[in-house]
């Protein structure tokens, strides 16, 4: 940002006007010009479509168990033994109970995409809000908020999640969307603290900068300072955090599943949320020796989602940067 007050003021005005007219348009144009970001967007859109149209895309029902069909490798694997050779019906092989890996993967995209995104949004909103307030207000507000953050990040969350589950699993809340709602809340409740501290640290430094002083000097209202001057300048680390939060949640969901929080296993063919990538990774880990494909494919999906969001994040950050004029 500029180094002198008048310039800042000038720029602030410019920005306000420009933003109304063309900022988002510009950003979008810049974003779409970024190849990596476009690839990322395509991947995410693809996964979202897969999740939505899972019933149409999945070759089999993901909970359908076929006798004597367990641990079949992907179709291109030929061992010479008909029992352990891949078959075209099961493109990516089957699991221990003879369920089709590809179909599971497709259905699992539903849970995993939602579980990656929804708590992330919550965490970002809460974390950023608390971080902004804490950093900007300073003094006792800051102290109180940061001590609360310490308390929240210190008590044993595993135990908390077990208790939460036991208390709520039989309520409407705990049963919504096969327990997914409970997962969101659980993941979000224990994960916002890092984001809050990150944003607060940024704000502490930013609020001392000249342009903020200047805005204050000209009597800009506080909310305006926070939203227009401080918030946009904290985007960079937030975006990095988000790109790590998403895969973290996707994997974390499986940990929760094994604390019995969240999705119940089911053999009901009408179940819309039968499994998730995280759960598949766990199953695959157990079968690592005998069915490595059970681990490989969900890991690749998670990696793809993370890369896609990283590319989008990088692109978005560049695109939203008002200084960028290329």
């Amino acid at each position: 940002m500029a180094t002198s007050a008048p310039a800042v003021k000038q720029r602030a005005f410019d920005q306000t006007e420009r933003r109304q007219r063309t900022l988002w348009g510009d950003a979008w144009r810049r974003l779409t010009r970024n190849k990596a970001a476009v690839v990322g967007l395509v991947v995410i859109v693809m996964f979202v479509l897969v999740a939505i149209f899972a019933p149409l895309l999945a070759p089999h029902n993901p909970v359908l168990q076929t006798n004597s069909n367990s641990l079949r490798p992907p179709m291109w694997v030929d061992t010479g033994n008909p029992r352990t050779t891949g078959v075209p019906e099961h493109v990516l092989g089957t699991d221990t109970l003879g369920r089709d890996t590809l179909s599971k993967l497709i259905y699992a995209a539903r849970v995993s995409m939602i579980v990656g995104l929804v708590p992330t949004i919550f965490v970002t909103l809460v974390g950023v809000t608390i971080g902004l307030i804490s950093g900007f207000a300073g003094g006792w507000v800051d102290n109180l908020m940061m001590r609360s953050v310490e308390i929240v990040s210190s008590f044993p969350d595993l135990l908390f999640l077990i208790t939460l589950n036991v208390a709520l699993r039989d309520t409407v809340f705990g049963r919504t969307a096969n327990g997914l709602l409970l997962i969101f809340v659980a993941l979000a409740l224990v994960s916002w603290t890092g984001m809050a501290r990150l944003v607060r640290g940024q704000v502490l430094s930013l609020k001392q900068k000249e342009f903020v002083e200047a805005a204050r000097a000209v009597g800009a209202p506080r909310w305006q300072i926070v939203l227009k001057h401080l918030l946009p300048n904290t985007f960079a680390p937030i975006i990095v955090s988000i790109s790590f939060l998403i895969p973290g949640f996707i994997l974390g969901e499986s940990v929760l599943t094994f604390l019995a929080v969240g999705m119940r296993p089911s053999v009901d063919p009408t179940n819309q949320f039968p499994t998730s990538w995280g759960v598949m990774v766990q199953e695959g880990y157990n079968q690592l020796s005998s069915g490595p494909w059970m681990l490989l494919f969900p890991v690749l999906c998670i990696a793809a989602v993370m890369l896609a969001f990283t590319f989008i994040g990088d692109g978005l950050r560049d695109a939203l940067d008002p200084r960028e004029t290329k």
Binding site: V63, Q65, N67, S68, N69, S70, L71, P73, P74, W76, V77, D78, T79, G80, N81, R83, T84, T96, L97, G98, L158, I162, N165, V166, R169, S254, V255, T257, F258, L259, A260, R264, P265, S266, V267, D268, V279, Q282, E283, Y285, N286, Q287, L288, S289, S290, G291, P292, W293, L295, L296, V299, L300
Partner: protein, 618 residues
């Protein structure tokens, strides 16, 4: 080295590592699979699992080898993984002559009178020796006692302590040491899981161990005259060499009980060293074949021969337990040649079979456990015998063993596992969907209509999850009944099993032999017995038969009485027998003395009761 270049290489190597298994599978060998396995084991207890995630990992790994009652193999604990390690499966490891390297697990407590985990017992029984031990047939044979005289009425056992029997520090083992140990077991203060085992068997035991045997409260026991009770306690040292044990009734299985770790002769002076006496090898002084020389509970335990042991000279110079909680890692260690013996988990069996080298190193291990699906007999609909029978006939045990256990186990139709006295060959209530549906209709629930919601609660682990998905699918397909799967945290689950009020309608469990006698199985179902109290199933006829058989002299008649009770149990179906355990272990070619001939179902690790003949010669 250029750091960045290294990173890049590393990244690619990691990526390649992910792909390798697939490539390996491409060039694979015959293979495993559903029809494959004939041998078997799934490890001792159905509860044991492979580790996967946080808290579950925790509970599962500690419970690694579940336990219970002296299960044979630390089972699931140790397991493998194979084709993933495309790398070295060769036997190029650095074995050392005379050193046997095994997988161990961190013990919680090595106090013999408090321990109940296989992982603990396998430490204890290296160092201590009971009055008796088991031979390769699983029969009790004299150990610290050189002989035993049994009175004609079968109620007085006189053990003659071997005068050569010494503690590793050279002091002789006396009958008083044993008296102290058995009293310590009974003392309410000790409060071990196995305190209740001799209840009703040793004279004066119930009165002394009033909390565990009679359910007295602590305040009530405060008013008891402990000294008088101690004086009437049925275990008495007549002199240094003679120990007399009085029983309430004849109990042919008592010799087996005397071979368990619960009577290990700990010394008063060691125990007095403090609550944590066993944590220091200095105090952990026993009369067994080995001495604990190095002990880091979370890392290693090293045993070296006890020079004062009464038995033959040992061929091994050292036994090392490496505490590995992660089954996949243990398998890697075996392949790298850093372990000599390893139990195989069902999940990894196909990979072992597919590996030309590993498949040559497999030995079968007889199991001592039976897994079952239990019903809460006090709640609808399983208070109805026909409903229970319907469910029992709707479960395909062959598919269970083949697909879920990968062949490690045998389909079970009765309670006692094959190879144990009291095993019943039967196909009663075998898998038969038509009969199952008919039975359900008889019960008034044609096609499952009118059944209340059936909920199966289980400890949420990866393994349990897969298993319950299979089970639920069976009932759905063969009976048309949907059951609700309800995972909870494993410890919360344990708490639910404590009383029939909270016991789930369906649950999965298992039982392993403490000692080879039908009393250890069938009598648990007598009203007031461990398993009866859990599920609520009670049959006066069975009560009578077991009461009769428990005190009958050994012989075919006694066995027949148990068989009658066993058949009642099978026909009433308070549980669905699913499988008898059977295990497999990998043994390196340079290990001698651990073979299919020398392993027993009661082993604390494969070949344990053949210790003196085990040798390692790379």
């Amino acid at each position: 080295m250029n750091l960045l270049r290294m990173k890049k290489t590393l990244a690619w190597v990691l990526f390649a590592a992910l792909l390798l298994p697939i490539l390996a599978a491409c060039g694979g060998t015959p293979a495993p699979g559903a029809t494959g396995g004939t041998t078997g084991s799934t490890a001792a207890s159905p509860a044991a699992g492979t580790t996967t995630d946080a808290s579950v990992a925790a509970s599962e790994t500690t419970a690694a080898s579940p336990a219970a009652e002296a299960s044979p193999s630390p089972a699931a604990a140790t397991s493998p993984d194979a084709s993933a390690a495309t790398g070295g499966t060769g036997d190029t490891g650095t074995a050392e002559a005379g050193v046997l390297r095994l997988v161990g697990h961190e013990p919680e407590n090595l106090d013999p009178q408090k321990a109940s985990f296989v992982v603990e017992i396998q430490h204890i029984m290296m160092v201590y020796e009971g009055l008796m031990t088991f031979d390769e047939e699983g029969k009790p044979v004299p150990a610290a006692a050189e002989s035993v005289d049994i009175s004609e009425d079968g109620k007085t056992y006189t053990f003659n302590i071997d005068p050569d029997s010494k503690y590793s520090d050279g002091t002789p083992v006396t009958a008083q040491n044993f008296e102290y140990a058995w009293k310590r077991l009974a003392n309410p203060e000790t409060a071990g899981e196995y305190q209740s085992l001799p209840c009703g068997i040793i004279a004066g035991y119930d009165e002394y161990s009033a909390v565990a045997c009679q359910g007295m409260t602590v305040t009530e026991t405060a008013e008891l005259d402990m000294e008088a009770l101690e004086a009437n306690f049925g275990v008495r040292a007549i002199d240094d060499q003679t120990l007399e044990i009085q029983l309430v009734n004849p109990a042919p299985y008592f010799l087996s009980m005397a071979a368990l770790w619960i009577g290990a002769p700990v010394r008063e002076q060691d125990v007095e060293a403090g609550e944590d006496w066993w944590t220091d090898p200095e105090n952990f002084i026993g009369n067994g074949p080995f001495v604990l020389t190095e002990f880091d509970p979370a890392a290693t335990a090293v045993f070296e021969p006890n020079e004062n042991w009464r038995g033959p000279e040992l061929k091994l110079q050292r036994v090392v337990y490496n505490m590995i909680e992660e089954t996949q890692v243990a398998f890697q260690a075996y392949q790298a040649g850093e372990l000599d013996v390893l139990n195989i988990a069902a999940e990894d069996l196909p990979a072992v079979q597919a590996d030309p080298q590993l498949s040559q190193q497999v030995i079968d291990i007889p199991g001592s456990c039976t897994s079952y699906i239990g019903f809460n007999v006090t709640k609808a609909p399983f208070d109805n015998r026909d409903v229970r029978r319907a469910f029992a006939q709707a479960f395909d045990r062959e598919a269970w063993v083949r697909d879920v256990l990968q062949g490690l186990g045998e389909p079970a139709h009765s309670f006692i596992p094959p190879g144990f006295p009291g095993f019943l060959e039967t196909d009663a209530l075998k898998f038969d969907p038509a009969a199952a549906k008919a039975a359900l209709a008889t019960a008034g629930f044609e096609n499952g209509q009118g059944l209340p919601e059936i909920r199966a609660t289980f400890g949420s682990t990866s393994r349990n999850r897969t298993r319950w998905e299979f089970i639920a699918n069976q009932f759905r397909e063969n009976l048309g009944v949907d059951i609700v799967l309800d995972p909870v945290d494993p410890t919360a689950y344990t708490a639910l099993l404590k009383s029939p009020e909270t016991l789930p309608q369906m649950y999965q469990s298992g039982w392993c032999a403490d000692y080879p006698d039908p009393q250890n199985w069938i009598s648990l179902w007598r009203t007031g017995g461990v398993l009866q109290a859990r599920g609520g199933y009670s049959n006066p006829q069975l009560d009578e038969l077991t009461t009769q058989a428990d005190i009958a002299p050994e012989g075919p008649e006694r066995l027949e009485t148990y068989n009658q009770a066993h058949r009642l149990l099978i026909e009433d179906a308070p549980i669905i027998f699913t499988s008898h355990s059977a295990g497999q272990a990998l043994v390196k070619p340079w290990v001698q003395g651990i073979t299919e001939e020398t392993v027993t179902p009661l082993d604390y690790w494969p070949g344990f009761f053949n210790l003196e003949n085990i040798q390692v010669q790379p």
